[in-house]
């Protein structure tokens, strides 16, 4: 009886995985991208892709890569994890052609993350304005964050990193290391930012105690802001972001250092927010989106996190706003996935992270 039950269970699991394997088809849209980092869909059907090496590229409606990079991109600091990161269109892009870029600024000795706004006109960026520069400028080329999202009040949140060697500074609210910041579209500080008016704080801060936040998405139905961040060895986190909250790094963590050393004896302490979930061992989450397309009805409202170390996309199922399990997708590619987006056509789009990176489209197999 027990054996029969086990066999049925095994068959069920096997059947389930086969269904998933047959559910979708992955198509290559564009190849030849050098460490692509971020994807944005233009209203005319073209796409913008950043390459970490400092180029902004246009992918035409037919998927061909425009050989001429977009001109006028601000020159940033390119090394290791540093470079051009996210491109995000203004909510009113169709009328104002404005977009936002995050990138590393400075030199090997003194650098951090910067946010700029520009107008895209005839394949060129014009009127480039620096809106925000994270401070202090620090040494090294790691942990920049760099993801963005708009909130319903048209303020934007920008994720930052702790610069790796400055992890304790994630708890210091007088600087931007290890923070998520919230800005108006002109770079000014919103009047209702949670720490605004407090003496000695960086008033752009929206939340703090982060390590390296590389995914953020606003759920406009449930009015929730989700983010994920890289842990060290273990302890990657999915968080529900609320204003003024301390997410604990490095006082609490589920990870340990790459050297094997303890980072903290604690996974919980009073006053420090727990993650919704943590990935241990690390998957290295690199971007986060929420699926709202029509092609995959069963994915509706679920979160999708691309991963570098696991070389997959994690589907995080949400049921009435609560976590309802995970599914590991697209492992068959065997590639680091840098970005995952839901396209206007309902397909899921992926950017693979390597020197010959690709833009992939995931569509139903039928």
């Amino acid at each position: 009886m027990l054996k029969t039950s086990r066999a049925l269970l095994l068959l069920g699991l096997l059947g389930s995985s086969l269904v998933h394997a047959m559910d979708y088809r992955i198509e290559t849209v564009t190849s030849g991208l050098e460490h692509p980092w971020s994807l944005a869909f233009l209203p005319d059907g073209r796409m913008l892709v950043t390459e970490r090496v400092g180029r902004l590229r246009i992918i035409e409606q037919d998927g061909s890569l425009n050989p001429q990079p977009v001109g006028g991109v601000p020159k940033g600091f390119v090394a290791a994890q540093a470079g051009l990161m996210e491109v995000m269109l203004d909510p009113d892009f169709a009328s104002n052609q404005q977009l936002y870029l995050s990138y590393a600024y400075g030199t090997a000795e003194a650098n951090n993350t910067r946010l700029a706004k520009a107008c895209l006109v005839d394949g060129q960026l014009q009127d480039v304005q620096v809106l925000f520069s994270a401070l202090p400028a620090k040494k090294g080329a790691a942990h920049y964050g760099g993801r963005m999202a708009f909130l319903p009040d048209n303020t934007l949140v920008l994720t930052l990193g702790d610069g790796f060697d400055w992890r304790e500074q994630a708890q210091n609210t007088s600087n931007h290391l290890g923070k998520i910041v919230r800005l108006n579209r002109d770079g000014s500080i919103p009047k209702d930012n949670p720490l605004r008016g407090q003496a000695g704080v960086a008033e752009e801060i929206y939340s703090f105690g982060h390590r390296n936040v590389q995914g953020i998405v606003y759920d406009d139905q449930l009015k929730r802001l989700y983010s994920h961040e890289h842990g060290p060895r273990g302890g990657d986190e999915l968080n529900l972001i609320e204003p003024g909250i301390n997410y604990g790094w490095p006082l609490i963590t589920y990870g340990i250092d790459y050297s094997g050393a303890q980072i903290s004896p604690y996974t919980e302490l009073p006053g420090l927010q727990q993650p919704l979930l943590h990935w241990t061992p690390s998957v290295a989450p690199s971007s986060l989106t929420q699926y709202r397309g029509a092609l995959f009805p069963e994915w509706q409202g679920d979160l999708f996190a691309s991963t570098l170390a696991e070389r997959s996309v994690r589907r995080i199922r949400l049921h009435n706003g609560k976590l309802a399990g995970q599914e590991v997708l697209f492992e068959e590619l065997g590639e680091r996935i840098r970005d995952v987006r839901g396209g206007p056509d309902g397909a899921l789009y992926l950017l693979t992270d390597n020197a010959k990176g690709r833009l992939l489209r995931v569509v139903p197999s039928q």
Binding site: A80, F164, D165, D257, Y258, S259, G260, A261, Q262, Y266
Partner: protein, 151 residues
Amino acid sequence: MPSKSRTLLHFLLAVLLTSVLGAVLQTQFNLANLQALGAPIPLMVRLHTTGLDLLGFSPTFAVLVICGFVFALPLAVRLARNWPAGRWLVFALAGALAVWSALTLANALLPMPTLIAANRSLAGTAGLMASGSLGALLFAMLRRPVAPAQS
């Protein structure tokens, strides 16, 4: 002349001492940073964390120490032969520089800016180097030339 196996044993004991001291130091520097942020670190937590680092961190540090000592200690032996009066100083410096060189090389070769957290500060780096000195001095002490027995 010590046998090869005795020399290897002395070498491994020097590596062990340096690795243990380095691990204990790494823990204390890290816990001091957390205390400065307001974390409570009672004695039992300190001891437990130190124990975890002895198990989890010291093997990594030991690899670096071996990489440094394998060059530094034979060199120190030669130099000390030519300068017997400076023997202890030679080994102390050799141990410290071996650790510093290994840390610098690891940071240059590995993707993370600084492999070992204590190495982020001058005091932490000096502490790790001092661990190397003590390990090298243990090696020197174990290999100390024995005075001929008087008949």
